[in-house]
C-alpha cells in the first residue's frame, strides 16, 4: 500500500517536471527566436528599403514588403545617375578599397608569419619581451598616433593615397598577425624543427617546407581577420584620405551625409549593403575561421 502510494506520487512529480520541461523548452526557443529577430531586423530593413521606391517608403513602414523587386537604387548606389557634378557613387571607392586591402593583407600576414616563426622556433634571449612589445600595439587607441602619422605620410609624399593607407594598415596589422601566428606555432612541436636543423635545413627551408604546409588554418584566420578589419576601417581612411583616394567606408559615409537634395533612403540602404557585402560573404563562407580569429585575437573587437 505504502509502496504504491509512493510510486504514484513519484509519477505525479515526474509528470509535473515533464510539463515544466516542455514549458521551459518553449520558453527557451521563444527567447532565442526573439533575439534572432532583433539581430535580423536591421538587415531585413536594409534589404527591403533598398528595393522600394521613395514613394513606397513614404507610404509604407519599415517592415512593408516592396511591391516589386526594384534594383534601381542599387544601380544608382553603384554607378551613379550618369550626370556630371555632384554625382557620387560607390564603384571607384570600392576599387580603392580592393587596391588597399589586397597588398595590406598580404604584407601584414607575411611579416606576422615570419615574426611568429622566429618567436617560437628560433627563440633568443628576451624573445618574450619582444612579443610583449609587439602585442601592446594591438591595444593602443589610434588617436595617440594619428597626428604624427598624418605628418609622416605628408613627408613621405603619400598622404591622401591608397599607398599611404596600405602602409598604415600593414603596420598596425603586424601586432595582430604576429599574435595569431605566434600562438599557432607555439603549439607545434619544436622537435620537428630541431630534427630538420640537424639534417642541415636552413632557416627559410624549414619555414617553407615544414611550417608553411601545415599553416593553412592560421593563414585563413589571419587573412580573414585582416581583410575584415581593413575593409571596415573608417578612422584611418577618413583621416588620411579624402576625395578620390577614399576607401569605401568613407565614401559611404559621405554619400549618406551629403544633403544636396531630397534624402533617398533606398539608395542609402543599397550603398550600405554594397559596402557591407564583401565582409558578410566572407563571414557566411568561413564563419568558423572568422570566429576563431575573434576569440583568439580577441582584443580589437
Amino acid at each position: 500500500m505504502q509502496g504504491s502510494l509512493q510510486s504514484s506520487s513519484y509519477k505525479k512529480l515526474e509528470q509535473k517536471s515533464k510539463y515544466t520541461n516542455i514549458f521551459l523548452r518553449w520558453f527557451l526557443y521563444f527567447v532565442l527566436i526573439l533575439f534572432a529577430s532583433y539581430f535580423i531586423f536591421p538587415l531585413y530593413v536594409m534589404i527591403v528599403t533598398s528595393l522600394k521606391t521613395m514613394e513606397e517608403i513614404r507610404q509604407g513602414t519599415l517592415l512593408t514588403w516592396p511591391s516589386a523587386l526594384n534594383f534601381e537604387s542599387w544601380g544608382v548606389a553603384w554607378g551613379g545617375r550618369g550626370y556630371g557634378a555632384g554625382d557620387t557613387y560607390l564603384k571607384p571607392y570600392f576599387w580603392n578599397s580592393i587596391k588597399m586591402v589586397v597588398p595590406a593583407v598580404f604584407f601584414s600576414t607575411f611579416i606576422g608569419a615570419m615574426a611568429g616563426y622566429v618567436l617560437t622556433k628560433w627563440r633568443f634571449k628576451g624573445d618574450k619581451w619582444v612579443f610583449l612589445f609587439l602585442l601592446f600595439g594591438c591595444f593602443i587607441p589610434y588617436q595617440a598616433i594619428l597626428l604624427p602619422m598624418a605628418r609622416t605620410l605628408g613627408v613621405l609624399g603619400i598622404s591622401n593615397s591608397v599607398i599611404g593607407l596600405v602602409l598604415v594598415h600593414t603596420v598596425y596589422g603586424i601586432p595582430f598577425t604576429t599574435l595569431f601566428f605566434r600562438n599557432f606555432y607555439v603549439s607545434i612541436p619544436s622537435e620537428l624543427v630541431k630534427a630538420a636543423r640537424i639534417d642541415g635545413a636552413g632557416f627559410f627551408k624549414i619555414f617553407f617546407k615544414i611550417l608553411l604546409p601545415i599553416s593553412t588554418p592560421i593563414i585563413v584566420v589571419t587573412v580573414i581577420w585582416q581583410f575584415t578589419q581593413i575593409w571596415n576601417d573608417f578612422l584611418f581612411g577618413s583621416t588620411f584620405s579624402f576625395g578620390e583616394a577614399a576607401p569605401i567606408q568613407v565614401a559611404l559615409n559621405n554619400m549618406v551625409l551629403s544633403s544636396t537634395s531630397v534624402k533617398e533612403y533606398n539608395v542609402d540602404m543599397a550603398s550600405a549593403i554594397i559596402a557591407g557585402i564583401p565582409t558578410l560573404i566572407v563571414y557566411v563562407l568561413a564563419g568558423k575561421y572568422f570566429i576563431r580569429g575573434l576569440t583568439s585575437g580577441a582584443v580589437k573587437g
Binding site: 527557451l28 612589445f133 587607441p141
Partner: protein, 291 residues
C-alpha cells in the same frame, strides 16, 4: 661574414616587425606625449609649455560632455552586451535545434563596419519614417520615438546600435567557455540533485571568471575607441550632446587645428586604455607562464 649572417638570420627577419612597431607605435605615442606638453596650434611647436593643454582640456565643457558620455555609454554597453551574451550562450548550450544557424545570426553584425551599422540604425531610428511610423501604423497613434534628434536621449541610440553589433561576440566568448567545462562536473552536480539553474548560477558562471574578465576588457576597449559609430549615427549631435573622446580628438586636431590640445586628449585616452589593458596583459602572461 656569411657565418654571422646565418647566425643572426632570425633576428634580421624579426627586425622589420620590431622596427616598424617601435617607430610607428612607441615613437609616435612618445611624439604625441611630447606635443601634448607644448603650445602647438596648427603646426607642432617643440618648445615645452607645461601642462597647459591638460588644464585647458579639463576646463573644456565639450571634453567634460565627452567624458560623461563615455561613462554612460561604457556602463550601458557593458551591462547589455554581457547580460544578452550570457543569456544567449546559456540558452544555446541546451542542445538546441539549428544552433549553428542561430549562432550565425547572432554574430553576423560583427562582420559589418560601424559605418554600415550606423547607416542602417540611423534609418531605423529616423523620427518620421522609422520605428515611430511603424508603431503608429500598428495603432499606437500617439507613439513618439525621437531619441536620435533628442539631446537627452541621443546617446542611448548609440548604445542600441553598439549592443546590436557586439552582444553576439560576448555570446561567442561565453559559449566557448561553457563548452570547455568538463561534462563530469555538471553530471556530478545533477546527481547531487542540483537544478539546472543552480548548476549555472552556482557552478558554471563562477567558473567563467576569466571570460567575464576578457569580455570586460574587450568591451571597455571598444567603447573608449568608439568613433565610427558616432560619426555615422549622430556626428556627435544634436549639438554636441553625443560627443565622445575619440570624436573630440579628431575634431580638435583636424577641424579646429588645436594640435596640442588634441594630443592631450589622445593621451588621456591612451592612459584610460592602458589602465585596463596592462593588468589584463599581466594576468594573461601569468596564466601562460603557469601553463
Amino acid at each position: 661574414m656569411l657565418k654571422w649572417l646565418e647566425k643572426n638570420l632570425p633576428k634580421i627577419v624579426m627586425a622589420p616587425a620590431v622596427g616598424l612597431i617601435g617607430w610607428f607605435v612607441y615613437g609616435f605615442v612618445l611624439w604625441t606625449l611630447y606635443i601634448s606638453f607644448t603650445n602647438s596650434k596648427i603646426l607642432p611647436k617643440y618648445e615645452l609649455w607645461g601642462v597647459g593643454q591638460y588644464t585647458k582640456l579639463w576646463a573644456s565643457r565639450k571634453w567634460l560632455i565627452a567624458v560623461d558620455n563615455l561613462l554612460i555609454f561604457t556602463a550601458l554597453f557593458l551591462i547589455f552586451c554581457v547580460v544578452i551574451g550570457i543569456i544567449l550562450a546559456i540558452f544555446l548550450d541546451q542542445k538546441i535545434r539549428a544552433e549553428g544557424l542561430l549562432r550565425t545570426i547572432y554574430l553576423y553584425p560583427m562582420a559589418l563596419s560601424f559605418i554600415v551599422t550606423g547607416t542602417a540604425w540611423k534609418w531605423i531610428l529616423n523620427p518620421t519614417l522609422g520605428i515611430q511610423k511603424l508603431f503608429i501604423d500598428w495603432g499606437f497613434e500617439n507613439f513618439t520615438f525621437d531619441w536620435l534628434v533628442n539631446r537627452e536621449m541621443a546617446i542611448y541610440t548609440i548604445v542600441i546600435a553598439g549592443v546590436w553589433q557586439s552582444a553576439g561576440f560576448v555570446m561567442a566568448l561565453f559559449l566557448a567557455g561553457l563548452r570547455s567545462v568538463e561534462d563530469e562536473i555538471v553530471k556530478a552536480a545533477k546527481i547531487d540533485g542540483a537544478s539546472l539553474f543552480t548548476v549555472y548560477w552556482k557552478i558554471l558562471l563562477p567558473m567563467m571568471r576569466p571570460v567575464f574578465f576578457t569580455s570586460f576588457v574587450i568591451l571597455v576597449h571598444i567603447s573608449i575607441k568608439s568613433y565610427d559609430l558616432i560619426v555615422a549615427l549622430t556626428q556627435g549631435g544634436p549639438g554636441i550632446s553625443t560627443t565622445m573622446p575619440a570624436l573630440y580628438m579628431t575634431q580638435t586636431a583636424f577641424h579646429k587645428s588645436q594640435v596640442g590640445l588634441s594630443a592631450a586628449s589622445a593621451m588621456m585616452m591612451f592612459m584610460a586604455v592602458a589602465a585596463v589593458i596592462i593588468p589584463y596583459l599581466y594576468s594573461e602572461l601569468r596564466r601562460e607562464n603557469a601553463r
